[in-house]
Symmetry: C2
Subunit: 218 residues, 2 copies
C-alpha cells in the first residue's frame, strides 16, 4: 500500500508541475529550482545573482523553508519581490505548494524566478516543481563524498555550484575527485566553482543563467 | 487520507521503536541516534569518540545512508563492528530498519551503539528508533540560523554538538546567538563546542556520553 500511495502522490505532483510549467512559459518566466543541504549558500547565491543581474533581468523569488522568514527577509532587502512558503512537517517543496505560490505572484513582472527549496539533499530531488532548470549547491565544507552518497540530487540537476571555495585552504576537499564523481552520475551537467563571499565565479554562473534563459522559447 | 496514512506509519514506528528499546535495554546497550545535515561530521565524530573510549567501552555502529558504504568503510578501519543500512529512496532511518539491523548485530558484545542517521536535518527528527539519547551535530559552516529554520531537530535532541570550531576564524558564526536559539527551543539541552579535526572539546563530549550511559538502569 505504501508504494501505491507514493505512486499516486508522485503522479499528482507531475501533473501539477506540468501545469506550473505551462503558466511559467505563458508568462515568460524562466524558473530555477535551487536545492542544497542546509547552509550550503542558496540564499547568498540568490543575493549575489540579483546584484549582478538586476539591471538586465526582473527577478522574483519563492523561499521554501520548514519555518521562519529569515531567508525572505535577507532577499527582500535587495529590493526583490519574495514569497515565503513554510512547508511545516514536509521535507521539500512540491508542485502543489509552488502552484499556490505562483498564483499569488505578479508573474508578468518577472523574467527569472528562483524557487529556493528546503535545505535537504534528498527529498527535493524527488519532486519536480515545473522549473526549467534544476541547480544544486554543494558547499566545500560538506565534503567531496556527497555526490556518491546522495546520487539522485546530482543525477537530476542541470548545474552544480561548488560554493565556499574561499574555505578551500582550510579543508581537505578534492575538487577533481568530486567533479569526476558528478560527471560519472550526470555527464552533461554544468559545474561552476564559486564563492558567494568573495564573488569569485559568480559572473560565470550568471552568464550561464542568462544564456539558458535565452535558449527557452518564449 | 494523507494524514491518516501518516498517522498509521508513525504509530507503527513508535511500536517498533519501543521493541528496539526493550531489546537494547535487555542487552545492556546504550544507543545514540546521531543526526545532522550532510557533511556536518557525524562519521568523524564516531571515529574520534571510538579513539577516546575504545579502552573503556565496547562500541558498535549502524551506518544509515541513501547509498554507498563510504562511512562504514571509514569506521571499520577503527576496528569497530559496523552494519550498513542503505535506505534507498527514504530520507531517514526508521524503527523497522533499525530493528532489522539490531537482529543482525551481536548486541551482547556492545556497551555503546552509534546509529548514524541519514544526513538530513528534517526527516530523522520525526522518527524515534528506540535510542536512549538523540544527538545532533551542527557544523559552523552551516550557519547560526539553523536552529530557527529547522526547529524540530533541535527541540527533540538531548545534546547539540557545534562541530568544526577550527573554522570559526574564517566564518561569521555567532556562537552566543546559536546557543540562545537552541536553549529557547530546548532549555535542558546539553551543548558542546568541538572540532573533530583538532580534537578540541571531544573529551568533554565523551565524558558526557559515559555519564549518560551510567545513568541508564541496566
Amino acid at each position: 500500500m505504501k508504494v501505491s500511495v507514493l505512486k499516486n502522490v508522485m503522479g499528482a505532483n507531475e501533473a501539477l508541475a506540468a501545469r506550473n510549467r505551462e503558466l511559467l512559459d505563458r508568462s515568460g518566466v524562466f524558473a530555477i529550482d535551487l536545492m542544497s543541504s542546509p547552509g550550503a549558500g542558496k540564499t547568498s547565491l540568490i543575493i549575489e545573482t540579483v546584484r549582478v543581474l538586476k539591471s538586465k533581468l526582473r527577478i522574483g523569488v519563492i523561499e521554501g523553508d520548514i519555518a521562519s522568514t529569515i531567508d525572505s527577509d535577507r532577499v527582500r532587502k535587495e529590493g526583490v519581490k519574495v514569497l515565503q512558503i513554510n512547508v511545516g512537517a514536509e521535507c521539500s517543496l512540491d508542485a502543489n505548494m509552488v502552484g499556490q505560490g505562483l498564483a499569488k505572484l505578479p508573474l508578468k513582472d518577472f523574467d527569472l524566478l528562483f524557487i529556493e527549496n528546503v535545505g535537504n539533499l534528498i527529498c527535493p530531488a524527488e519532486f519536480t516543481l515545473g522549473e526549467h532548470r534544476r541547480v544544486v549547491v554543494l558547499s566545500l565544507p560538506e565534503g567531496d563524498d556527497k555526490p556518491v552518497k546522495y546520487p539522485l540530487m546530482f543525477t537530476k540537476s542541470d548545474c552544480v555550484l561548488l560554493n565556499k571555495i574561499d574555505l578551500a585552504p582550510h579543508l581537505e576537499f578534492n575538487t577533481a575527485k568530486v567533479k569526476t564523481a558528478i560527471r560519472g552520475l550526470n555527464p552533461g551537467v554544468k559545474i561552476f566553482e564559486i564563492s558567494c563571499k568573495t564573488g569569485r565565479g559568480v559572473r560565470g554562473w550568471c552568464d550561464w543563467l542568462v544564456k539558458e534563459r535565452q535558449g527557452i522559447a518564449r
